[in-house]
């Protein structure tokens, strides 16, 4: 039984993959807007913008008002937070590994210093 969460996250990532859609989300972060208002900054027809809005709506990232004339679009915050959560969790796992690498690198630097000192000492003592 597939949890509904996965489907939504797939569509969230798909929605976020497009720069126009990301720009639309940024605009909506500033407040709701109609399709016409959203289309304005892009060199794009309203039907083209509407296609993007459908993707965003299906992903649950925006909701659209019922007002037949305006159909204002509004940002829905929860799915965005979820997508960020996946990325953040991935980042945390790698950061934990890299912190272990930080410690290993400190060890390796120390070992290298010791080797260099050892060689210098050997040279001073006249051994090859």
């Amino acid at each position: 039984m597939q949890p509904q969460g996965y489907e939504r996250l797939d569509s969230t990532f798909a929605a976020l993959a497009d720069p126009t859609r990301r720009a639309i989300l940024m605009r909506l972060a500033g407040g709701e807007a109609s399709v016409m208002e959203l289309a304005e900054p892009f060199d794009m027809s309203q039907p083209a913008i509407s296609k993007h809005l459908k993707v965003l709506e299906r992903a649950g990232l925006i909701s659209r008002g019922r007002d037949a004339q305006r159909r204002p679009c509004r940002l829905e915050a929860v799915p965005l937070a979820e997508a960020n959560e996946w990325l953040e969790r991935y980042r945390e796992l790698w950061e934990a590994a890299y912190q272990r690498l930080d410690a290993l690198l400190e060890e390796m630097k120390e070992d290298e210093k010791k080797r260099v000192r050892g060689k210098r000492g050997a040279k001073k003592r006249g051994t090859p």
């Binding site: 597939q2 996965y6 996250l9 797939d10 990532f13 798909a14 976020l16 993959a17 990301r22 989300l25 940024m26 972060a29 965005l80 960020n84 959560e85 996946w86 990325l87 953040e88 969790r89 991935y90 980042r91 945390e92 796992l93 790698w94 950061e95 590994a97 890299y98 912190q99 272990r100 690498l101 930080d102 410690a103 290993l104 690198l105 400190e106 390796m108 630097k109 290298e112």
Partner: protein, 165 residues
């Protein structure tokens, strides 16, 4: 809304395209040591031996153009093994490695290409590691692998490909 997460700690992870994951981090060490830690199995296992639910059970590296690499990850929760095989395309010591990687599991289709670069300044090294996956789906599954064991991701695939048919 950006596609980067700005972070606590040093590591930055971004998704520059819908098929890529890019990581950038600074290390307080010269690049030849960072390079060594990335290319010697016994050193890799010390820092990358554990990743979430996964442990690095096997790690073989033949570091030259045309040489092969082999990683096998084992899931602690269910014992599932996930093997990865690849070939080195470019090897510039201490500077750049380009390699391909393919999962054993035929469900994870296609080949990924990884590019690792190291740049040193004032004794510190900036590493960038970008992996481009065969599809958005594989890329997303890799991101999700951080959240739960590979089993859940496999059930997704099972449901989509088999039960939906």
């Amino acid at each position: 809304m950006t596609n980067a997460t700005m972070n606590k700690g040093n590591l930055i992870v971004t998704t520059p395209t819908d098929r890529e994951i890019a990581m950038t981090r600074v290390f307080n060490a010269p690049r030849h040591l960072v390079y060594e830690a990335h290319t010697k199995p016994e050193l890799l296992k010390r820092w990358l031996g554990v990743f979430g639910d996964w442990t690095l059970a096997e790690c073989e590296i033949d570091l030259r153009v045309g040489g092969s690499l082999r990683y096998v990850w084992r899931n602690k929760a269910n014992g599932m093994a996930m093997g990865l095989s690849g070939v080195y395309r470019e090897v510039v010591p201490n500077e750049r490695i380009v390699s391909t990687e393919q999962f054993d599991d035929p469900w994870y289709e296609g080949e990924a290409v990884g590019t690792l670069t190291l740049v040193e300044e004032n004794g510190k090294t900036t590493m960038t590691n970008t992996v481009r996956y065969a599809s958005k789906e594989v890329r997303d599954n890799v991101l999700k692998s951080g959240m739960e064991s590979g089993v859940a991701a496999s059930y997704d695939k099972l449901e989509k490909d088999v039960l939906a048919a």
